[in-house]
């Protein structure tokens, strides 16, 4: 019998659902007590990074191969950084538009919140630009995309991006489509280069832009979408497509994994957890809509 050498869709779906639920429940519990920064670190280390590493350990998988911890060329790294920068602009633009549309339903009131201490702010920034790119990439591109590539091959990264986008409903509905768009970019990088380093660099660049530029643009535009942002957003989208298409593909070092892959289709349990996750995210989204409509507080 050939030993399974890659995560299965079932394993990915189960872990994805558990991670999503624990992230929401954990954040509701820990964030008010420990602060927004510490909570982000718990999310990244415990709920997002730990499951794929534990799965690899239990199955005796070499993480270098399974999660594609491989070196890539400097050219690919540079392309990853610049495509992260340019696609972030487009994702930010989509986020603004979604925000405006959602505000038509009803604005979310900003409850009085304790502003984070300097240490919590530092934890938040480091978490966003160092931890999230590593931990989330190992989970979504390493585990989830790898699992779906087993059955869907070149479209595996699209499904991983869908799951990555839907996971961000926990940050608000307006984050779903932008995260999906960025997920597509990161998934394509990994698919094309066979190295998770590229998506980590892309992710880090996008998050640095969010930290440095997101607030600055918001302040400068005072919540309105200026005409120049429409033009720049689509120009950057075009640039990111050109950059991503200029990637040089690497030889998939585990090109024979399909032969040892034992779960090419999701089992009933896999489908069940996929549906469960979809229902969970739909419920979170509906809750936000109800809050916006003033039906829930």
């Amino acid at each position: 019998m050939i030993k399974q050498q890659s995560p299965t869709i079932t394993q990915a779906n189960i872990l994805f659902f558990i991670t999503a639920v624990i992230t929401l429940a954990g954040s509701a519990f820990f964030q008010p007590k420990l602060g927004i920064g510490t909570n982000l670190w718990i999310n990244e280390f415990v709920y997002i990074l730990f499951p794929p590493l534990l799965l690899a350990r239990l199955n005796g998988w070499p993480v270098e191969d399974v999660y594609r911890f491989r070196k890539t060329t400097t050219r690919n790294k540079v392309i990853s950084i610049f495509s992260g920068l340019s696609l972030w602009f487009f994702a930010f633009y989509i986020s603004k538009i979604t925000h405006v549309l959602l505000d038509q339903i009803g604005a979310l009131e900003n409850p009085l919140q304790t502003s984070p201490s300097i240490y919590q702010s530092l934890l938040l920034v480091i978490g966003m630009i160092v931890l999230a790119p590593i931990c989330e990439e190992i989970f979504f591109r390493g585990l989830v995309q790898k699992a779906y590539e087993g059955s869907f091959h070149r479209f595996g990264f699209v499904i991983a991006a869908l799951l990555f986008g839907s996971y961000h409903v926990l940050n608000g509905i307006s984050e779903v489509i932008p995260a999906f768009i960025l997920g597509l970019g990161m998934g394509y990088l990994v698919y094309k280069t066979d190295s998770i380093a590229t998506s980590m660099l892309f992710h880090a660049t996008a998050n640095i832009c969010a930290v440095l530029l997101g607030g600055a643009i918001d302040t400068a535009t005072k919540g309105v979408i200026p005409a120049w942002l429409h033009a720049i957003a689509f120009a950057y989208l075009g640039l990111s497509v050109v950059l991503l298409r200029s990637l040089k593909g690497e030889t998939q070092s585990n090109g024979n994994y399909n032969e040892v892959y034992t779960d090419k289709r999701a089992s009933a349990a896999g489908v069940f957890f996929f549906v469960l996750a979809a229902m969970f995210f739909a419920a979170v989204g509906i809750m936000e809509i109800l809050v916006r409509l003033g039906i829930l507080s």
Binding site: L49, R70, D103, Q113, S117, Y119
Partner: protein
């Protein structure tokens, strides 16, 4: 690459652990964040339960604006009562009540009141519990002419807007019954700095005015406990904003003034 990732994660973990420790160590100092302009009184709640216990009394030599800023690090419900010898402009009574649970950092219960000269006292009702309550207060003399204007409004002469404000709506509330009725709509094409002044002379029933928009909401600009909202200045994003009136068994007049 695996080694690099693990090194980054390990170094991050060490830095993060230090930051979390520092945050925990300084947390106590961050619990109360009363701005430095306030004088403050901090009461330890663990020694005894209190029922309307006098905390302190202040005397205003001239009509003043008194701002209160209250925080507590304890979940139980506490009541802070302020009783003034003289009128509190915009209020039918000479008593202010604040109910507070746990509010720390930048969260607080706060309010600004214009009081005529005289004494005011602050009382506390609380359970015996672990925790503290911090009461900040700041007194600023009000310009005599400004006080005179507001005093007229307080006594029912509502048509006394501040300079630069124009009337956009007025009505007699007697016999009027409505819920969230749109009484005035403000449409903005650009981001605009505006000022709102809403006054009512209603002394009975319910008269509430809310200001509702896409990006900003002000609930209860005026309500039965507070009849004067004077010179609320804010920046509004483009969009439509509505003044909504809820009114039942009220009397008197209602005026809305805007500065754009």
């Amino acid at each position: 690459m695996k080694k690099t990732v693990y090194i980054i994660l390990t170094v991050s973990l060490m830095i993060g652990f230090c930051l979390i420790m520092l945050d925990e160590l300084t947390k106590d100092r961050n619990e109360f964040n009363i701005p430095s302009r306030f004088q403050k009184v901090i009461v330890d709640l663990k020694d005894r339960a209190r029922t309307d216990e006098l905390l302190f009394t202040r005397e205003l030599e001239v009509p003043s604006s008194v701002e209160f800023f209250i925080q507590s690090d304890d979940m139980s419900t506490k009541n802070v009562k302020i009783i003034s010898e003289s009128e509190i402009l915009g209020k039918n009574s000479r008593e202010i009540n604040f109910t507070i649970q746990r509010l720390t950092g930048n969260s607080s219960v706060s309010g600004t009141y214009i009081m005529n000269k005289g004494k005011y006292s602050v009382y506390l009702t609380s359970e015996k519990t672990e925790g503290k309550i911090a009461i900040g207060y700041q007194e600023k003399p009000v310009e005599p002419t400004e006080f005179e204007r507001l005093y007229k409004i307080h006594n029912g002469d509502l048509n006394n807007p501040p300079k630069g404000y124009v009337e956009v709506f007025s009505t007699n509330l007697t016999g009027r019954s409505c819920k969230d009725e749109v009484i005035y709509t403000l449409s903005l094409d650009t981001t605009t700095d505006i000022g709102l002044s809403v006054y009512t002379s209603s002394e009975k029933g319910t008269a509430i005015v809310d200001f509702i928009g896409n990006s900003s909401n002000f609930i209860g600009l005026i309500h039965p406990e507070h009849r004067i909202c004077d010179q609320l200045e804010t920046t509004l994003y483009p969009g439509e904003y509505q003044f909504k009136l809820t009114c039942q068994n009220a009397d008197g007049q209602l005026f809305i003034f805007l500065k754009q």
